[in-house]
Symmetry: D2
Subunit: 307 residues, 4 copies
C-alpha cells in the first residue's frame, strides 16, 4: 500500500495518516492540494489518500467536499479525528513576543489563532503561507522571510524548531476530521457503530425539496451527524448536500433510506460506509429494526405472490 | 359458485349481486345479517358474499367494517356501486298520503327519507323493520301492521306492490358501495384502475401515530379514496382505520407503502386489490413509478453486494 | 333551564342528563331523535340538549355527528360518560330463557348483545324497537308483542319490570359519551384538562389533504382524542372529519392550530372547549407552551414594528 | 454616510460598494478582513459595511457567515450581485505565459482559476497573497516578488497594469453576492420581491431537529433561496444554519414562520428583510396569503373573546 496525503510532511494530515495501521511503514506521498491527492488515487498512483473533510471550528473543507462530489467515484473507508493545537515557532534570535514583526502560517491556521495574535502580537504583520509546515520550514532558511510561524507541534518537533508559546489556538479542543479515500471496492463490514457518507444533489429548486430528502432519513429513524451545503457552481442558489448518517448500508433502515433518496434524486452518490471514529451504537426503534424491515418485506412478498 | 348476501331477497344488496357475471344463474343465499353472510364464506358454506360497505350519505357500514376487520381473514375481489332510490309502497286501500298512519322500513332507509317524511307524512308513526324488504312484504299480509313501507324499486316490482310515490329519498344521487368477499386466494391482476383495502390498527395512542401511517401513503404518492375510523371496542379513543387506496399491490409504490405500514403497525390487514368500479388511472410522479422503485432497489443492492 | 334529550324517558341519555348539576329538578323534554333534540335548542324551545356522540363499541353516533356538523351553529359545553350495561327484562309469565320466542330492543342495543343472544336464546326472533325503553315498555301491555326486551337497568327499575338476566352486554366495560349542547355563547373557562371539538371539511380531494390538516395539530403538540370520518353526503369519497383534541381554545397551542386549520379549511366549525370527563393534564413541551407562543409573537412584533 | 468594506481598494467588494447609490461620493474605508469591517459598524466607526457572503462557485464566505451570526446584532439592508471575472496581470518584461515562474493571488481566486493555471502555466509556483489587489500591486514594486498576479479587471485598469490574458476564471458566469450591513434599525419597506436572512441554531442534536425547522417554512409556503451549515465551533457535529428565505417580515406567512422558528430555536437571529437583487414575485397559495392569515387570526380571536 502507498498513501497520498495533503502535504507537506508534518501537517496534521500526516498525523492523521500515521494513525492508519501500517501507514507508518508504508510509502507516504505528500500532495500539493486535495485535488492532486485524490487524482493520484483515481489514476492508480496511490492506493489511498488521506484528506481533511471537516474542522470543528472552520467547518467543512470545501476543496475536499467538492472533489469527492464530482469526477470519478471514490470511496471513504475510514475516518480519523485529530485534535488541533498550534505552537508559535520562531527563528533563531527571537526570544520574546515583542520582537515578532512578521508572522506567517496557512490562512486557515491564522483564522484559528487570530484572537490570540490580536491580543499577544498586535503589531505583527501577517503573510499567508501555502501550508503551516511551509511557513515553519522557512524559519530554517539563512535569511528567514518572517520571525515566527504558527504550526503543528509535530513539525516543530521533527525539525527542532524553537517554540516560544504552545497552545496558541483560540478554540481549545478543536478537532479536524480526516478521511481515508480509495477507489470504489469492498465496503468494510458493519461494526455496530458506523457512518455512511452521501452526496445529495437537490432534485429541483422547489419548496420542500430538501425536506423531502431529509424525510427519507427521519421516516426510518436514521440520524444525520453532518450536513454541509455546497454550491453546484452553476448558479447562486443551486446546492448539493454532503451528508454523514449514522449507520451502515448493510443495515436495513439505511438501505431503505438510500432507496428512497435514489428515487427522489437519482444522481446521488454513495461514498461509503465505515466505522465511526467515535459514537455510540444507534438506538433503533423496533419498527426500524432489521427484523421489522425483513418481516415487512416478506409479508408484502407473500401478498404479491398471490397476484 | 354460490353466493351469500345480506338479505332478504329484493334488497339493494341482491341488486348488487345480480351485477356479478354469472350470479343471476347461481345459487344466492340471503343472510340475516352481515356477520352471518361472512361466516358462511369463512366456513365454506358459500364461495363468496356480497355485503354493503359504504353509503354516500350514511357513511360506512359499521357491521361490515368491523366484521372484515376481525376473525379469520377474508379478501375483497370486486366492488359494485348501486344507486339508491326508494319508493313508498302502500297496502291495499291506501290511495293518498293523508291516509298513512303507520309506516315501516329499515332504520337506515328511514334516515335517508326522513325529510321527505316530515314534509309529506308528518303525522305517520314509524316502526322499524329488520330490512326494507321485510317492511314491504308485511304489506301483503292479511292484516298489515302498517299502511306504508319505504323500500327498493326492485322489491316493489317483484311483489307487485302498489307504489304511491317514487324517489322519496332526501338525497338524490345517493350511492351504496358493495363488496364481494371470498376466502383469501388469488388476487385479481392489476387493470390500471385498481383499489386496495386495508385495516390499520393505530400502533399506539401517541400524538402523530395516525400521521405516521398516512405519511406512508403520501411519501409514495398513493391516494386515499376512503378512510373510516372505527373503535376497537376496548375503550373510548382506541381506533383502527379502514382505508381504501388507489392502486394495486402489484404496483411498486403500493407495495412500498404496505411495507412501511407493516413496520409501524404489524397487525394491519390487507383485504385485497381489485378493479375500481369507477375512476381514472392514477397519475404517478416519475419518482414513484415502478421503474424508479426498481432502479433504486437495484442500486442499493449493488452497494450491499460490495459489503 | 330546560333540557331536551334523546328519549324516551329511561334511556341512557336520560341517565347522562341526570348527572348534570340541576338537571334532576329541571324540565326534561324527551325528543324522538337527535335532530329533533338539537332543533329544539336551535329554535329556543330548549336551553340545552343531551345527545350521545360516541360509544366505545359501536363507534360514533352518525346522527349526532351529522346534525352538529350542519345547520345553525351549536356549542358543546360539557361531556358525560355513562357505562353501558344491559338487562334482559321479560313479560309476566316468563321464567326461563327457553320460553323466550320473541325479543325486542333498539338495533344498537341488539348489536351490543348479539353474541350473548346467539349463545343463550338462539331460537328467539328479533324485532327492532325504536328505543330500548320502547321495547321494554311494551312488556307492560296487556298482550305484549314480545316475550323479552333488552334495556337499561334504569328503565327496568323505574317500571318495576321483571329482570331475568343482568349484564347481557357482550363487551363488559362499554361506555357511551354524551354531550350537552347549547346555542353558541360563553365558552367555559379552561380547567387544565379540557377538550375541544371541531368539524373539519377536507379542503379538496388531493393526496395529503388530511395530512396537512393533522400536521396543524402535531406541529403544536396537540393530541387528538377522537377522529371520525363522515361522508359529506354529496358523493362517495367526500368526507369531513369530526375531531376532539386535548386542550382549550384559550391555550395558545390550540389557538395556533385552529388558526392554521382555518387557513387550510376555512369552513371548519369550532364546536366548543369544555372540561374533559376524564384524562390527565396534557404534558406540553416547552416550545409549545403559552409562554413560548407569547414570546415568539412579541419577538416577531418587535421586528415588524421596525418596518 | 461612510462605508467600510473588505479591502484593499480595487477588490470586487469595492465594485459592489460602488453600486450603492451615493457610495461613489462617500467615504469608503477598506478593512483588512470581514471582522474588522463589521466591528467598525458595530462600534460606530462606519455607518455600514459591504462584505461578501456567497460565491456561486466557492460557496458561502465562512468569515462573514460566522461574524454576523455572533456578537452584537447587525442588519442586512441590501444585497449586490457582482459577476466574477479575473485577469492575468504581469510585471513589466513578461510577454508570454512561458516566462511566468512565480504567480500570486488570494487563495480563493487561485481556487477559481486553478484549472486554467494547470493547463496554461503548469510550471508556475504559487504564492498566496492576502488579497487579489495586494498580489497585483506587488507587480508595481521595483523588484516584484512574482511575475504575474490574478486580479480583478478593476484593479488592473486603475493601476494601469499589463494584462496578458482576460477571463482566466474556470467557471464563466460566476457571481459573488455582497451584503450591505448596518446596526439594527429601520427595516426597508417590502417591495414585493424581497429576501430575509436568518441564523438558526439547531435546537438540539436529535433526529429531525433540522426537519422541524424547515417544516416551519414549508408549512407556510416560504421558499428557501440559500441554506448554509456552519459549525458552532463547540464540537464536531454541532451546527447552525444560515438561511435566506423569499419574502419580507411584513408578510404574514414570513412572520408566522419566524414565530414558529422562535418557539423551536429561541436563539435564532433575524438579520433583515431587504429587496432581492433578482427574482420574481413569489406565487403565494391562497391559504398562505396575508388575507388568509388575517381572517384565521380574526376568527380565532372571536372564539377566544367568548371565553
Amino acid at each position: 500500500m502507498n498513501y497520498a496525503y495533503l502535504g507537506p510532511a508534518g501537517t496534521f494530515t500526516e498525523s492523521a495518516l500515521l494513525q492508519v495501521p501500517g501507514a507508518a511503514d508504508a510509502q507516504r506521498i505528500p500532495a500539493s492540494n486535495v485535488n492532486v491527492a485524490l487524482s493520484m488515487v483515481r489514476e492508480g498512483a496511490a492506493d489511498a489518500a488521506m484528506v481533511p473533510i471537516e474542522n470543528s471550528v472552520e467547518g467543512g473543507v470545501s476543496a475536499t467536499l467538492d472533489a469527492i462530489a464530482q469526477g470519478e467515484s471514490l470511496q471513504i473507508v475510514s475516518e480519523i479525528l485529530v485534535p488541533i493545537t498550534f505552537v508559535l515557532a520562531v527563528r533563531p534570535g527571537i526570544d520574546s513576543l515583542e520582537q515578532i514583526k512578521q508572522i506567517s502560517t496557512h490562512g486557515h491556521a491564522w483564522a484559528q489563532c487570530r484572537l490570540w495574535a490580536e491580543a499577544n502580537i498586535p503589531g505583527a504583520a501577517f503573510t499567508p503561507a501555502s501550508s503551516t509546515a511551509a511557513g515553519a520550514l522557512a524559519l530554517e532558511e539563512a535569511d528567514p522571510p518572517h520571525d515566527a510561524a504558527i504550526c503543528s507541534p509535530l513539525v516543530a518537533q521533527e525539525r527542532g524548531l524553537k517554540v516560544l508559546v504552545s497552545g496558541v489556538e483560540d478554540n481549545v479542543g478543536a478537532v479536524t476530521r480526516f478521511i481515508l479515500v480509495t477507489r470504489p471496492g469492498r465496503i468494510p463490514q458493519p461494526t455496530g457503530v458506523d457512518k455512511s457518507t452521501l452526496i445529495l444533489p437537490l432534485p429541483e429548486d422547489r419548496p420542500g425539496a430538501l425536506m423531502e430528502l431529509l424525510e427519507q432519513f427521519t421516516a426510518r429513524g436514521v440520524n444525520l451527524s453532518r450536513i454541509e451545503s455546497r454550491p453546484t457552481g452553476k448558479s447562486l442558489g443551486e446546492y448539493f448536500f454532503s451528508v454523514d448518517i449514522e449507520g451502515h448500508v448493510a443495515e436495513e433502515r439505511v438501505a431503505a433510506a438510500l432507496s428512497g433518496l435514489h428515487r427522489l434524486s437519482p444522481k446521488l452518490r454513495f461514498l461509503g460506509s465505515y466505522p465511526a471514529a467515535q459514537g455510540l451504537e444507534a438506538s433503533v426503534d423496533t419498527h426500524n429494526s432489521d427484523a421489522a424491515f425483513s418481516e415487512a418485506r416478506a409479508w408484502v412478498q407473500s401478498l404479491r405472490d398471490r397476484v
